[in-house]
Symmetry: C2
Subunit: 381 residues, 2 copies
């Protein structure tokens, strides 16, 4: 078992109607003004917007708004947010929405406290040393952004989709009410399931050591995702399945699964970021394409763990059967498993590989993931 | 799935030689003086004491000492600590040792900030609203006190062994170096294993709801405890097994396992506290006596979960076989499984039941655990 630090100071307020207390949670941190960031306005249709505003008002918290945060969230909108916060001298950022909104909130929170260009953090030109407090009300379970310090932002000028990771942007409090997640489409539920599985297995397969407990946690997450996704596709109103799905989404990427493994790399996310960036594919859909291809390519490099995965998740003795069954399950729940199914032409592979290799350089795994290797992986998709 | 709050702000510094950085971790919290609490002096024999002192000194942190903290730690010594902290105006409490030392550190940290008798917190006469920061260097894996807000203290006048629970006394930083735990005797390793299993299964069996993910986490913990204990009894120097044992000990009682279950009660701990208080039995040894008896008594009240336990842990279809196998495993690793084996006469049952029922009243579960019921359970032991 490798040395590690485990530190996750985010408080999760999990359960029904907890969004009605968001003003109280913010007030308890002695904050009196926030930037309220959200997306396309679906929170207005659902009534969530009014409930959040009412809670802020009843606790005397003033707010400015940043709407129009899109999936694969844009750096330009982050910069808009930074400008508003600086002008209005706001004390915190409240993201109400899915991972994209929360990631934008984090980037704004860090960017406000930095004199240079916030993108510097994403290209490792600067380190985050300070940030405004972040609060969230989640409407989608997938990214675990509600309980980690990660944010992925798309530079709309350079078409680079890069990330930051700092405990300084961990949300102070995140509201996770599974009821708010019940309106997600079946497509996006499937993409979220794929994303959660990807978060779990990246380190599971790529780590240098595999403590049994960590492997068991990952397997517990994957089993629960499969089980609850199938229930929810049949019956979107099953609260318990929705709640478990939301909770394991958080556990998949809040620091628990890699503790003691020595850490791993995130090659599937790395390659997928290029699919999203260039073809605007939904992140989970892109992962469903990349993951089986990557697993087939990587299988021989960690045969014991692939064998374990096949046995524990699908009760198969043969490791390649485990990959086949996962791919088949992705297809069954409605996620694309080939570039073609995701609407990406074979002719696009070269450009994708060049873009993904740039990220491999930033993440310092370009020694493994050369452009040619990424081409080889994508050819399998 | 029930509503819940998950909040655990303790930072775990896990790994080799991390105790040499304790001064730095404390300094990072802008603290300049601590009460150093420890036990019988084994940390002096091992050289740990010198290393901790050296780290404190090199970071300019002054300290006063409170030695002689015993297992089943005493209220009188807690009061000694409170007195020293107040007199010397110390800013934090550093516990170096096992659960007893850390629990004492927490009680001191809370007591210093309270004008009344610190015991008021234990008998629900007052609530903790403020506490000094607590830091720890752990030498024993069992209680998870390094990553929770619990403390169990024995009132040496009244013979009551009661507890507190508040996130305000969660350690700020805990050093968990598995190497420091390698000198534990085989007896105490076995008792620790029993304690960790008890922490995991109390809520697993008594909760009102059983989300699959929570059950899977508990089963992952129990499987890992069984596996690593067997390795360590054979080879105490197996670092990886020692490290996994230490990490699952933490996961068993850091708030993760009950999240969403609606919470449960701790009847085994409740009854065991009387064995420790009256007969000074080691806590884990007492639990090995109480747990199989309690399980046999409780089995019919949650048949599905007992069946699940038997299947998942011991691959047995019959739930009573699961209990039998657990009891046999306790015996195999050297823990007593009967009152007789623990040196407690049958004639002591009445007094134990009266004492345990007092705690049942404090914990508000006396409607289930009347004196007669506790007698009935202990008769099975």
């Amino acid at each position: 078992m490798n040395d590690f630090i485990y530190y996750n100071p985010t408080k999760i307020e999990f359960g029904k109607e907890k969004e009605n207390n968001i003003g109280q949670y913010i007030k308890e941190s002695n904050i009196e003004s926030v930037l309220l960031a959200y997306g396309s306005g679906s929170i207005k249709k659902s009534g969530l917007y009014e409930r959040v505003i009412a809670s802020l008002k009843s606790h005397g918290i003033s707010y400015e708004e940043l709407d129009g945060v899109v999936s694969n969230p844009l750096l330009s909108r982050v910069n808009d947010g930074i400008k508003i916060v600086k002008e209005k001298k706001l004390q915190a950022v409240l993201g109400v929405g899915g991972g994209s909104v929360v990631d934008s909130a984090k980037a704004i929170a860090a960017g406000v406290k930095y004199d240079g260009d916030v993108w510097d953090f994403f290209i490792n030109k600067a380190q985050i040393t300070e940030a405004l407090p972040v609060f969230t009300v989640m409407t989608l379970a997938a990214t675990a952004s509600e309980m980690n310090g990660n944010a992925v932002i798309m530079n709309d000028e350079t078409k680079q989709k890069y990330s930051i990771a700092s405990v300084l942007v961990n949300p102070v409090v995140s509201v996770v009410n599974p009821e708010l997640m019940a309106t997600v489409s079946k497509d996006y539920l499937a993409y979220s399931a794929v994303d959660i599985i990807a978060h779990s297995i990246e380190v599971y397969f790529t780590a240098s050591t595999h403590p049994n407990f960590n492997s068991r946690i990952v397997e517990s997450i994957v089993k629960t995702v499969i089980q609850t996704t199938e229930i929810l596709l049949e019956n979107p109103d099953d609260y318990d399945a929705r709640a478990e799905f939301a909770w394991v989404a958080i556990q998949a990427l809040n620091g628990l699964t890699p503790a003691g493994t020595g850490g791993g790399s995130f090659p599937n996310h790395m390659i997928e970021h290029s699919l999203s960036a260039i073809y605007n594919v939904a992140h989970g859909a892109g992962l469903a394409v990349v993951m089986p291809a990557w697993m087939k390519w990587y299988e021989t490099q960690n045969p014991a763990q692939f064998k374990r995965f096949a046995k524990e998740i699908f009760n198969e003795e043969d490791s390649s059967k485990g990959i086949e069954k996962l791919e088949a399950w992705f297809a069954k729940i409605g996620a694309p498993t080939t570039l073609k199914a995701a609407g990406i032409p074979r002719s696009g592979i070269q450009e994708l590989a060049i873009n993904a290799n740039e990220l491999a350089c930033i993440w310092s795994i370009d020694n493994i993931y050369s452009k040619d290797t990424i081409v080889e992986i994508l050819e399998k998709a």
